[in-house]
């Protein structure tokens, strides 16, 4: 089309003046008579200059149309024309709902030509929940039974687009019949219609799953391809149910890749690319976490990679899908290598679309293969300053995944820069969430932590997720193990907020103000030298600002109340009480009165607002035992003893049986309970309290959310381009069989660092800058990539070992970061006649580090509640695994679990990761499935253990 003369709208009126525009360049059969009514409408609209004129014209047009369509004399032919014009009006954004019913009528009554327009209008005007759609059902049923192929096709097309869910049973048998139709186009559309039904009502098509299989085996490629849509959806939902089809999908893909399909399906000489991509996606889902199924597809994936070699967008599309599939299924090293090469091609491509996809692929694989990011670090740095924001955004996403304690400040800074430039709400919500997460996890020091969160709060404003301020406050309140650190952090927060509030008339988002007022109310006492009066004055000033909402005012009032409990008297507070006692805002008035009365009794106030007790649980004495004395006194004075409500009612009922008092009784109880609460605590106080204590169940999460303030090294170090390997901690262990008659030196070597050391001879200033950035960004990536078994590089040296004797050397290996597999490699050198050097490597799996953990059921229950990292999964049991105890015993033997107790179809077991990270397992059998539920204090452990369990169950 690009070679066509670009005829823009400005040339339109002139063109339309010609009688026969079809005679223009490239006049095809569909050229329309511009003299038609639609042509007239379009022409007059383009001739207009203002939106206002357009509105007037369309209004007039709509009035005309309305009259025409509702006139009984209007022929169907004219109606068809009206419909086209109505579609046009709707496209311009003018609602024409008066015509909807006529569109349905046209589809019902018209001949083929009119029917087609009627159906089109219906599919454009209505959505699937529209009530008028029910009127279409009859027409569809009639057309599905028609002997005319075109009518059937039209009916199927409309069904595949919109159809009322509740009417599916009316057409389902007809459509099922169509699956056996002799024409492939009908079969294909029938499959497509079933796909639509599956999407909107999966239960209704459950009984015809075997027919889907038939469609998958259809001799026509189009029908088979259509059935893949359904399979992709079904496999997305439940991959384990379709593992048996893997081989079929693989063989289809093999045929497609091998060029066995009719040449019609080629697209730019690539065989059926859409089909290939669909199949690759299905294979990815099937092979995920399933080594045996993955095994089946390695060959065909290799073949796909190999065949996709022509330099065209479509082959890149296939390559991209291949790479994703390869990284999704169980890994195979040589395929991974090829896929990594492919990603390199994308990343280094000068074409911007491919570069973007390269970054996307890197983001996808980064956790599995951090070295790949190291290889492309310079490209990534370049992309970080790319003029196209979408590239920048994807790069940030990539960096977010590789953030660690050492590079967090640089990455967060980049993210904040981007955040400040973006206006779109969705981006802001997304980015603030990510920044807050990184900051909480990796903040190097207090100052940075508070400053960065301040930036997040002021930019994220009120659109960000409410969890961010809540988590932040919880973090401050709960603190860490070190009391002194906590206080410093809080003090810093207080100081920083005070200086922010110093400036008058600065606008802050409500959420930020709420955070500030809570922190000031709770922790302002930490400032020793400051005058609390100053803080209260600043809060008071805020209360008078117009941009502060009443919710925020409630927060501020609560803060003032808390602070006033720690001061003897204050003029500002008196002024504040006076001001708001007459406020029109009833809430504020209530707070003011509460504060006034509380101020009269400082002792009570101190009890009510204890220092730094936001995390303490509030004990509620539900039995009201503190009233015992009062009750006894009353009784001794002759008061009637209290009778519970139901007792009173029974007595009343026995007295006058005719009447039923139940409704009155009910309202009486609710009055009691609500009056019991008023005045005890202000609503804001309540909400605050529940905010903090309600989270106590998530206490365990502290571990993942907490700030790591210790052990963080300096950034911007001078290590150069690439990071040095981190210091290694922990120990290493090995017992070696020693060759006899030899002088032996055992020497354990580091695993080789898989980093490409790039030597750049001369560096420009800019490049140096980039490299420095690179070194700060990618620091710490290489080291924890290959192994998480951290050990010291150790060597043992033995003197001459006597013949027939043994020497041994023992070292201890510890799993510092949970992973499923780790490799320990080293070498032995010994001297016989010549120096000999032997390499060896040992593979450890997680189960090597698991030991049983003995405990009682009560202990189990207690521990269970205190852990927050949990993972649930259902596993299929083979018939041989029969009962729960058999399955559990298998797990016990293979994984060294301690079985705590088995009751019926439920069982609990416990184990620990050496040295002492506990993991609890709760399992339950139900109809051949085993539901496993892991909980642990370590976040990665449940996942890895689940994987081990799956392996055990599969082997058994």
């Amino acid at each position: 089309m690009s070679d066509v003369v670009e005829r823009t709208l400005s040339a339109l009126p002139g063109l339309l003046g010609q009688q026969d525009p079809g005679a223009g360049p490239g006049g095809g059969p569909g050229r329309v008579s511009a003299t038609s009514r639609l042509g007239g409408l379009i022409r007059s609209i383009t001739a207009l200059s203002s939106k206002h004129e357009e509105e007037k014209l369309i209004q007039q047009e709509q009035t005309n149309l309305k009259a025409t369509v509702s006139a009984p004399t209007t022929t169907l032919r004219l109606m068809k024309e009206c419909m086209v014009r109505l579609i046009y009006c709707e496209m311009l954004g003018y609602e024409s709902s008066f015509g909807y019913i006529h569109a349905i009528k046209l589809a019902q009554q018209g001949n083929l030509l009119e029917k087609r327009v009627g159906y089109l209008a219906v599919s454009l005007f209505l959505h699937e929940n529209h009530e008028l759609l029910l009127l279409l059902v009859n027409t569809v049923v009639k057309d599905l039974q028609s002997t005319n192929l075109v009518e059937v096709c039209m009916a199927l097309t409309v069904v595949s687009q919109i159809f009322p869910r509740e009417m599916i049973p009316a057409v389902l048998p007809l459509i099922e019949d169509k699956l056996q139709h002799s024409k492939e186009i009908i079969r294909r559309k029938a499959v497509q219609a079933l796909y639509k039904f599956y999407l909107i009502a999966p239960n209704q098509v459950q009984h015809i799953h075997d027919k889907f299989r038939k469609a998958l085996c259809d001799r026509d490629v189009g029908v088979m391809a259509a059935s893949l849509h359904i399979y992709l959806q079904m496999i997305k939902k439940n991959a384990s149910g379709y593992k048996d089809l893997t081989e079929s999908f693989v063989s289809i893909l093999k045929q497609v890749v091998g060029g066995k399909l009719p040449i019609d399906f080629n697209y730019h000489s690539v065989p059926a690319p859409w089909l290939q991509i669909q199949l690759l996606r299905i294979l990815g889902l099937l092979g995920k976490d399933d080594p045996r199924t993955s095994e089946l597809m390695y060959d065909v994936l290799d073949e796909s990679l190999r065949r996709a070699e022509i330099n065209h967008n479509i082959t890149y599309a296939i390559l991209f899908e291949c790479v994703q599939t390869i990284y999704t299924i169980c890994p195979k090293s040589d395929l991974l290598e090829k896929a990594a090469k492919c990603i390199g091609k994308f990343v280094l491509s000068p074409k911007i679309n491919l570069k973007y996809l390269g970054l996307k692929a890197l983001t996808y694989v980064i956790q599995q293969d951090p070295n790949l990011a190291l290889q492309h670090q310079m490209t990534i740095i370049e992309c970080l300053d790319h003029p196209d924001p979408i590239i920048k955004r994807e790069t940030l996403e990539l960096l977010y995944r590789i953030t660690n304690g050492q590079n967090v400040t640089v990455i967060v800074q980049k993210m904040l820069d981007y955040l400040r430039q973006s206006k779109e709400e969705y981006t802001i919500i997304n980015l603030t969430g990510k920044i807050a997460e990184l900051v909480e996890k990796y903040a190097p020091d207090n100052e940075w932590f508070i400053q960065t969160m301040n930036a997040v709060f002021s930019v994220g404003g009120d659109v960000m997720h409410p969890d961010i301020p809540n988590n932040f406050l919880r973090l401050l309140a709960e603190g860490f193990d070190d009391e002194k650190e906590d206080e410093e952090l809080r003090l810093y927060a207080v100081q920083s907020y005070l200086s922010l509030l110093e400036e008058e008339d600065t606008f802050y988002p409500q959420k930020f103000l709420q955070v500030m007022s809570w922190v000031l109310g709770e922790y302002s006492y930490l400032i020793n030298d400051g005058d609390p009066e100053v803080i209260i004055t600043r809060l008071h000033r805020l209360l008078k600002q117009t941009f502060v909402t009443s919710e925020t005012k409630a927060w501020i009032m609560t803060a003032v109340t808390k602070m006033s409990s720690r001061m003897s008297c204050s003029k500002t507070i008196d002024k504040l009480i006076q001001e708001f006692s007459t406020s029109l805002d009833t809430c504020m008035r209530q707070y003011a009165f509460e504060l006034k009365h509380l101020c009269e009794n400082k002792e009570l106030m101190k009890n009510l607002f204890p220092l730094d007790a936001s995390c303490d649980e509030i004990m509620v004495d539900a039995s009201l035992s503190f009233l015992d004395g009062f009750v006894a006194e009353g009784l001794s004075c002759g008061a009637a003893p209290y009778k519970p409500h139901h007792q009173r009612q029974e007595e009343k009922l026995s007295q006058e049986k005719a009447l039923n008092f139940e409704p009155y009784g009910l309202s009486f109880t609710s009055n009691m309970s609500s009056s019991g609460f008023t005045g005890r605590q202000s609503p804001a106080g309540l909400s605050l309290g529940s905010d903090m204590s309600g989270n106590s169940a998530e206490l365990g999460q502290k571990e993942t959310n907490c700030l790591k303030l210790d052990g963080v090294r300096k950034l911007w170090g001078k290590e150069g381009y690439l990071p040095k390997k981190e210091n290694k901690t922990g120990k290493e262990d090995k017992t070696q069989p020693v060759p006899q008659d030899s002088i032996l030196t055992a020497h354990v070597v580091d695993p080789p660092l898989m980093q490409s050391e790039q030597q750049v001879v001369s560096l420009s200033e800019e490049e140096k800058e980039k490299q420095q950035l690179a070194s700060t960004l990618f620091v710490g990536l290489g080291s924890n990539s290959t192994i998480s078994l951290i050990f010291e590089s150790l060597s043992c040296h033995f003197p001459v070992i006597e013949a027939q004797s043994m020497e041994s050397c023992q070292k201890c290996v510890q799993l510092e970061k949970v992973c499923t597999e780790g490799v320990l490699s080293g070498s032995i050198s010994y001297h016989l006649d010549t120096d000999t050097h032997l390499e060896f490597s040992l593979t450890f799996s997680l189960s090597d580090f698991i030991r049983p953990m003995k405990m009682t059921t009560e202990d189990f229950g207690r521990l269970w509640l205190s852990f927050s990292n949990d993972v649930k999964q259902n596993l299929k049991m083979s018939p041989s695994q029969g009962s729960l105890s058999v399955a559990l015993n298998a797990l016990k033997q293979k994984l060294k679990l301690h079985i705590v107790e088995i009751i019926g179809n439920e069982g609990i077991a416990a184990c620990r990761l050496l040295p002492s990270v506990p993991c609890l397992l709760h399992c339950r059998t139900h109809a051949r499935t085993l539901a496993l539920w892991f909980r642990s204090s370590c976040s990665a452990l449940p996942d890895s253990l689940l994987y081990q369990c799956q392996k055990v169950m599969e082997e058994a």
Partner: protein, 199 residues
């Protein structure tokens, strides 16, 4: 695919197809925002956009922008090719298509789109098959029309009770220059005698 929009460089909507149920208000809002965002982008920029939780894939052909919304896990490049294939189909059908063809024949453009994409999924990837389906429908309509007229002229006294058309098209590439063999079987009865005859 969630939806497809065609709009001009001036921001005028030329075609819209929604595969997810949305209210008119939302549709308008989305269209307005998207048209603005896409038009603001420079020519050398990436054809993909992140917009809300969707991916937008767009491409400009002459004065028309083709714009598709897909989900994050979908393949962007293949979506770009979907757009291209659609343009190819339009091109073949209209014979080197231009914006005017789509403005004045938007219903035809919709018919082609419905044969190619159905319910947001690629329905038929063979170009030949898509066009065959469209042409068949077009043809039948035209024949149907002329046939009614013929019957009005020739068999005025009869009531036509059934007609079967069998079409066979020669494989000439360019639409409009091919031969069609039409076998028409007509069943009618004379109004007076009620006798059925097949022709």
């Amino acid at each position: 695919m969630q939806f497809m929009l065609l709009f001009s460089r001036q921001g005028k909507l030329r075609l819209q197809k929604w595969y997810v149920p949305l209210s008119d208000k939302e549709k308008k809002k989305i269209t307005r925002e998207l048209v603005q965002t896409v038009l603001a982008r420079k020519p050398k920029m990436c054809s993909f956009l992140e917009w809300r939780d969707l991916k937008i894939v767009y491409k400009r052909y002459a004065s028309l922008y083709f714009c598709c919304a897909i989900e994050d896990q979908d393949n962007e490049l293949i979506t770009l090719e979907i757009i291209h294939r659609y343009v190819e189909l339009l091109d073949k059908y209209f014979g080197s298509v231009c914006e005017l063809d789509i403005i004045f024949n938007f219903e035809k453009a919709y018919f082609i789109l419905d044969e190619f994409l159905l319910g947001g999924e690629v329905q038929e990837t063979s170009k030949k098959n898509v066009l065959k389906a469209i042409e068949q429908a077009d043809l039948l309509q035209e024949v149907n029309f002329s046939f009614t007229r013929i019957s009005q002229i020739l068999f005025n006294p009869c009531i036509i009770t059934g007609a079967y058309l069998f079409l066979q098209r020669s494989s000439a590439e360019q639409f409009g220059y091919f031969t069609v063999n039409i076998d028409v079987y007509v069943q009618w009865k004379f109004q007076q005698s009620g006798q059925k005859i097949c022709w």
